[in-house]
Amino acid sequence: MIGDGAAEPIVRLSGVSHRYGETAAADDVSLSIPRGCMVGFIGPDGVGKSTWLGLIAGARRIQRGAVEVLGGDMGGAAHRSAVCPRIAYMPQGLGKNLYPTLSVFENIDFFGRLFGQSRAERERRIAELLEATGLSGFAERPASKLSGGMKQKLGLCCALIHDPDLLILDEPTTGVDPLSRRQFWELIARMRARRAGMSVLVATAYMEEAEQYDWLVAVDAGRVLATGTPSELRVRTGSQTLEEAFLALLPQARRAGHRRLAIPPLSPGEVVIEAQHLQMRFGDFIAVDDVNLQVRRGEIFGFLGSNGCGKSTTMKMLTGLLPPSRGEARLLGAVLDARSIDTRRRVGYMSQSFSLYGELSVRRNLALHARLFDLPLAEGEARIAELAERFGLGAVMDALPDALPLGMRQRLQLAVAVLHRPDVLILDEPTSGVDPVARDQFWELIIDLSRRDGVTIFITTHFMNEAQRCDRISLMHAGKILASDTPAALVEQRGAASLEEAFVGYLAEASGVTLQPRDTVATTASSASAASGAPAPPPARPRDVARFSLTRLLSFSAREATELRRDPFRLTLALLGSIVLMLVMGYGISMDVEDLSYAVLDRDRSTASENYTLRLAGSRYFSEKAPLASHADIDQRMRSGELAMALEIPPGFGRDLARGAAPEIGVWLDGAMPMRAEVARGYMLGLHAQTLSEGVVSATGTRPAPLADIAVRYRYNPDMVSLVAMVPAVIPMLLVFIPSMLTALGVVREKELGSILNVYTTPVTKLEFLLGKQLPYIALSLFNFTLLFILAVTLFGVPFKGSLPALCAGAVLYVTATTGLGLLMSTLTDSQVAAMAGTSIGTLLPAIQFSGMLDPVSSLEGAGAVIGKLYPTTHFLTISRGTFAKALDFGDLAGAFIPLLLAIPVLTLASAMLLRKQAR
């Protein structure tokens, strides 16, 4: 099979180059991969394995060269969409392309829908896959609550739902415990047995796993080092193991400094940590139960177990970082107090994921921590220099951690953790995903710290050769310690051949799993195509890949709706929030300017002046404050903002008036708020005219007849009631802010969390993805609209005079446009914060200021006027006010409907153009 030269290769790379800035992930790679095999890609981190797999899967855009997969060029969009139903891709990272809030069943179901499978077919396949992976009992569990091994099995189910011919797995077992790892490979073997001819490409850091593959590609620095079967590679380099073979293949420079690890024996020291009956419960759930341990100075103590079995919690309790629910831990005889800051000074901690600041340089990260740990400046600098030297970080001090290979990054994390010379060090899966050479370098440091500096080290790992190096190990399962002893003793107790066998035995016993003997797994895998007893594979029928599929679109909608349902807090905010806002704003934004405070400086104090000011005091628009004493008083009280208006009546006012000398009354307005000043002036002018025409202050008592009368008719809102004007305006406001914010994180969140890969690697088109995401939010926003409308008509009592169908049609168009606006922001930005800020600015400013809520759009100028004319809110505001107050129908509002109708395709197309269907 392997040597079958006649068979067309399944993948052919020719002259492929791929760069990220300075780094070459692929450097003129040419490679043919045989069909029907299990092919492994081995090599250190950051040499380009993931990039190669991404290119083959069609998830990355090809920069240079040609990638042929399944007989066609992956550079062509047509071929990509034609073969993508035949390829399955599982990216690196535990459960990276899964949806955490969806259940196991829903996750697989979603992928089934994307490939257009009928309900019955999906249910049959899901049942089969769950059965095969042993996940049947967890069908309803959310993906976020699965252990790492289960997540990877679920990922595999999602990948296999559509019977791919080519399965691409990027480090599928990294960070997964040995038992789950073994079950995972058994599963792959069974699948291959059933579907003869399925090719599998795997990138892996586990050499012992690679040992069992059919064909290997050794990769370094974006180039192919060697290809061949594992035995060929071993023979060619004259090595015993594949790991040694790989080291031999590496160029001399890369191997520098690598040597066989020697562990000096532990000199027995005093007991540093003593724990008794430690228990940790979170609510009803007991995470860790009854841990009893004694650890000596300088001991390297390993914890092994599946993900989520309580290893991290135990280590944190042992070192006083987490207060136990029951029991106690003592450090050098003293009970550890989790709240004491001093406890933290004695402990160094390195977490599973990279938890330093990616945006700070290596030097800055170290300096920040030196300062936080209170090291004096000179000592801190000396210590940083020492660690940089010892940990080999000297050359990268000014680089950003994100740009470093994983192994180097982990050394940096270790350097940070030991910066303050802690007595105890916690290392939580420090080498997960790190390549063998870097792992050995890392362990040299650990051993040095333990034996030379006497640091007590707690470490968790899934690598058995690392567990072998610990002084003692504890096997944990479901919060309990199964066994605890030296590695050799454990192997002996179990009567096993290796530590891995012993460990798998313990775990299988504890969890009640029966396993096939090891060799059977291997043979099944390598002779998959020859297996005859396996059920016949379902015929690979050609599937038509429709250009646009409603099913795929709806599958995204259904998923989005489920996620929204699972986040009741967000749903409540969206619904209740808009009602509360409507109440606050409907009552709050008042255009009725009333109760303007004013005061009078009466320097005449005559009957005439009193008569004049009395008119003002009686008006509901003004509210009089204590009289003014002087000009300085006017200044001071206007300045403090107490008065909106001040009146000055000159001395001799009454006398002048009687003489017909037309005295002047001074009116001072507070111009700090121009709109208020304008209104006050308007009221004042009106009152003044009225006072005169009624002859109140005229000494003669005659009143001049007016030349003409201006009859003002306030239309649509005869009483000038603010509510009638505002409520129909508040509805469009709320229907832009909330819907756009709902969709604003839609795309960018998938980008940040990684599930955007499903868009890259499934037949879904950009339009289906965008519209599918938009639909549930349109529905939610329309529900919101209904609530707001009912509130307006009932509680606020705003009369609705126009055409309800017109308003509803307007609302449908409008929320489609506003949700589209949010999606556009989401495709434009790269981080969730920026998407949020962008959406806030992009909606608050134009909607409040430029859409005619306060000032009609026709009165705006410059950019504001242009934005106002285009912005959807303007037009829905016209429809809302028109139907509420003006009794208008479709015909009258055509001018507002057309721009809304145009906005929708423009926004959606812009998003579709900005969205990429492949990663860079």
Binding site: R371, M638, P674, R713, F737, T839, L854, D855, S859, R881
Partner: protein, 381 residues
Amino acid sequence: MATGTRNTLLLNTWHLGIKEFHSLLGDLTMLFLIVFMFTVSVYSDARAKPESLHHASIAVVDEDGSQLSGRILAALQPPQFLPPVRVTLADMDKGMDAGLHTFVLDIPPNFQRDVLAGRSPSVQLNVDATRQSQAQTGTGYIQNIVNDEIRAFAEHYRASAAQPIRLVERAMFNPNLNESWFAAITAIINNITLLGILLTGAALIREREHGTIEHLLVMPVTPLEIMLSKVWSMAVVVLVASSFSLQVVVKLVLEVRVPGSAILFALGTLLYLFAATSIGIFMGTLARNMPQFGLMSILVLLPLQILSGALTPRESMPDLVQWLMSLTPTTHYVSLAQGVLFRDAGIDVVWPQFVLVALVGAVFFALAHHRLRLTIGRMQG
């Protein structure tokens, strides 16, 4: 020991704050948005804002066609009004329904003749009252203009009585009642609120989503230090940006006369940012993920921007709303900013606002600190 603890608190707060600056420098989109908000956005907001009455759309039904009605038409001119559109009586309603005209003036037949004969004829002014602010100010303007024209016209033909009392109005602090001054300051205030809340809240959630907060928890760092560092660093960023905006965009580019003390305003802004960032952190501890935080921020920002008195006068709002809004720092900050910037009020005048902003800020800070300690305890599990 007491001084030692205080020193540690200050030092840790300082170093963690410096870290926030480096983080922000790394986020180019965010930097762009901040610059955009305090320059282009403030500028366009101020420039777009119409003067109190600007380009009001008016239509005239001239049934008289006389010299007087022509004078009235000619008097309704830009910039207050768009050139009047002549419509027929039949088209009048249609135009108003479609929202084309805010005002329609109907001058009846034989108007000029009746005025001169002293018969006091009536002109009808139709106002679209759904456009309330323009309706209010515009009606007064039109009444004045029409009256003036009629009087001036009539004076040519017969002696008309002079006004027995003259009213002399002056606007203090902003003699021309220039709206763009007000709009520019309002825009700056709104941006300060938005950034103060978003930057800190989102920074907290991001640290949680990326697991760096978990790392801080194993360090000798207290929640108080984590909080203070975010508060001071983001406050400095926004303070620098807003001061630049005030000095360069508002004073130089927009040529707004700001008589008040920039230093006093900056002090007030700093105090207000303390309050706003505390609110941001408080929200960051309530929200469990970014989408929740996003929605929450809209629900908080909207009332803060609209009801704080920066858009419409507070005294006209219902008492309940006034009372509720007096619990937010924004309300007091708006009145502080208007006092200091426009009315050149000194600390002797605006000290109550300073105290209130500080007070509300302290309450939110305490709340946020309490929540952060609670949630951090939970995150440890």
